[in-house]
């Protein structure tokens, strides 16, 4: 049996090598001094990191991505927190259907959603492209916000809320002073998870970008089509650092168990 375990351990190591190897390789190539991607790099240079800040489109689209992910997040919270609360707190007819509607944005293929939004949100409703992008990302984030917040509400003891109500606090006051503070870490985790989903999104953004409006991942795709220098590798490293930091905070707030539950 010991032998079999060792075989399994070796197998698992290879699996992780497969998963992480490419990310390590891309990190190394970002320091290549020449203009062709090479592994191993032929030297060490910050040249391509500097290039990120020299290509104006990367800065512009980074700002757009930040703006859309943060404002969309705020919108999704405003829409999602009340809904998550209602769905976890009360039993009522049609709850299953509503649950389904709120989760459905993750079931519909992203590329289909992007196309449908282009057709209706931009063309039929005549929303400006920037607003369309924002709306699209809000729809995208809503299910993550609702799912994570509902799961932290399911650990909340509503008896505490009843106690506050019976002591004379108003419903709204109870919600802001008792419920919200108790699920604070869940809300922050929801914000971070939704942010990553939105910030990395391609499927919807690829339809909602146009002349002058683009997001960072879309700009990266466009750049790769025309250039094959290590700039994208350098951006990738910065994005991975961002991901690692956010993941660390999520872990601290609610553990990573959210990801293992389906």
């Amino acid at each position: 049996m010991q032998e079999k375990n060792r075989g399994l351990a070796l197998f698992t190591s290879l699996v992780f090598l497969f998963l992480l190897g490419p990310l390590i390789i891309i990190s190394f190539t970002s320091f290549e001094p020449g203009s062709v991607l090479k592994f191993p790099p032929e030297g060490f240079s910050w040249r391509w990191y500097e290039n990120i800040f020299e290509v104006e489109m990367f800065m512009t689209t980074f700002k757009t991505s930040m703006f859309v992910s943060l404002l969309g997040n705020l919108l999704a919270l405003l829409l999602g927190i009340p809904a998550a609360y209602a769905l976890s707190r009360f039993d009522f007819r049609g709850k299953g259907i509503l649950n389904g509607i709120f989760i459905s944005p993750v079931l519909i293929p992203g590329i289909v959603m992007g196309f449908a939004m282009l057709k209706y949100v931009i063309v039929v409703y005549h929303l400006p492209i920037y607003a369309g992008l924002l709306v699209g990302h809000t729809v995208l984030m809503l299910p993550f916000i609702i799912r994570v917040i509902a799961s932290s509400l399911s650990n909340f003891d509503f008896a505490i809320e009843e106690a506050a109500l019976s002591l004379g606090a108003g419903r709204l006051e109870t919600f802001f002073k008792v419920v919200l503070p108790n699920i604070r870490s869940g809300i922050i985790a929801a914000i971070l998870i939704a942010f990553l989903e939105s910030f990395n999104n391609v499927d919807i953004s690829v339809f909602m970008t146009g002349p002058g409006v683009s997001t960072l991942p879309i700009q990266m795709l466009t750049y790769v089509e025309n250039n094959f220098d290590p700039t994208i590798a350098a951006i990738s490293v910065l994005l991975m650092i961002l991901t690692a930091i956010l993941m660390f905070i999520i872990e601290r707030l609610m553990g990573l168990s959210y990801f293992t539950k389906r």
């Binding site: 698992t12 992780f16 209602a86 293929p109 196309f115 949100v121 795709l221 994005l239």
Partner: protein, 273 residues
């Protein structure tokens, strides 16, 4: 107060989703049956009788199927190993699996371009050790897409399976062994059946994910089209919105059919009933 209060909580979200998701999707589907003001299924007939479309569909299904099978075969043993580890090691390995999952798909696909390219790491290594004498053409083939998609979805199936396997009572294994089953038999008769519902859910996620993925095929597939890149091409490059809507509808239908049947299967095979 209760009823109105409840509606007030749900209404903003429902309205928002109706306006910006439900109506766009429903209207997109409806639009495929109308052309020039009259009912038609021309778009679907065109799709089903064109060899080029069918080839794209076949490539998509093939790539998704191979990706799913590979993810299951690779992910299952790894997940089993992880689920048996102590909390500290398990935590580290899960974190290492979740990290790529949260990393941008552009970054992940791009890293495979560096590895699989004509002058990429794989070819230069194979040439250096003399295993091949001219570079392999892997990038921009269905194989490249599969590798990229396996890389994309393997963490998903691993963490889903670890979640399921963690909940299997270890006493069941001990019971099976004390009744004379070998470790391997116990594994087959206890762990595998109890993991099936999780395995099916994981497979749905991988299959539907591969079927509808855009970034990875767009970067690693080159001129090789799959259904999602074909949808994009028709919508944006060729401006054929009718055909694009037909493709979108087909994608929705396939997605929901797969989810429906796999869910049914999962319920049926769930040993807890």
């Amino acid at each position: 107060m209760r009823k109105t209060g409840l509606y007030l909580l749900l209404l903003p979200g429902v309205l928002f989703l109706t306006l910006f998701m439900v109506i766009p999707i429903v209207m997109t589907i409806a639009s495929t049956f109308y052309q020039d003001g009259s009912f038609t299924i021309q778009g679907y007939l065109q799709f089903l009788t064109d060899a080029y479309f069918l080839k794209i569909m076949l490539t998509t299904l093939q790539v998704s199927l191979v990706t799913t099978i590979a993810c299951v075969l690779i992910g299952f043993p790894a997940a089993y190993y992880i689920s048996k580890l102590g909390p500290r090691k398990k935590g580290i390995l899960l974190a290492l699996a979740i990290f790529p999952l949260l990393t941008s798909s552009v970054v992940r696909s791009f890293s495979w371009m560096i590895i699989l390219g004509k002058k990429g790491l794989l070819n230069s290594s194979l040439l250096a050790i003399g295993l091949i004498d001219k570079p392999l053409e892997i990038l921009y083939t269905p194989t490249a897409m599969m590798i990229g998609l396996i890389h994309l979805f393997l963490p998903l199936i691993i963490i889903t399976l670890v979640g399921v396997m963690e909940n299997i009572d270890p006493d069941l294994l001990k019971a099976a062994e004390s009744l004379g089953a070998s470790k391997l038999t116990a594994f087959w008769k206890v762990i595998v059946p109890l993991s099936v519902p999780g395995l099916i859910i994981g497979s749905i996620l991988v299959f539907v994910g591969s079927l509808t993925a855009y970034t990875t095929p767009a970067l690693l597939g080159g001129k090789q089209r799959v259904i999602s890149t074909f949808l994009y091409q028709n919508a944006i490059t060729l401006n054929d919105w009718h055909l694009a809507s037909v493709i979108a509808t087909i994608m929705i239908v396939i997605t929901f059919v797969v989810i429906y049947f796999m869910n049914k299967l999962a319920t049926k095979l769930n040993p807890k009933g």
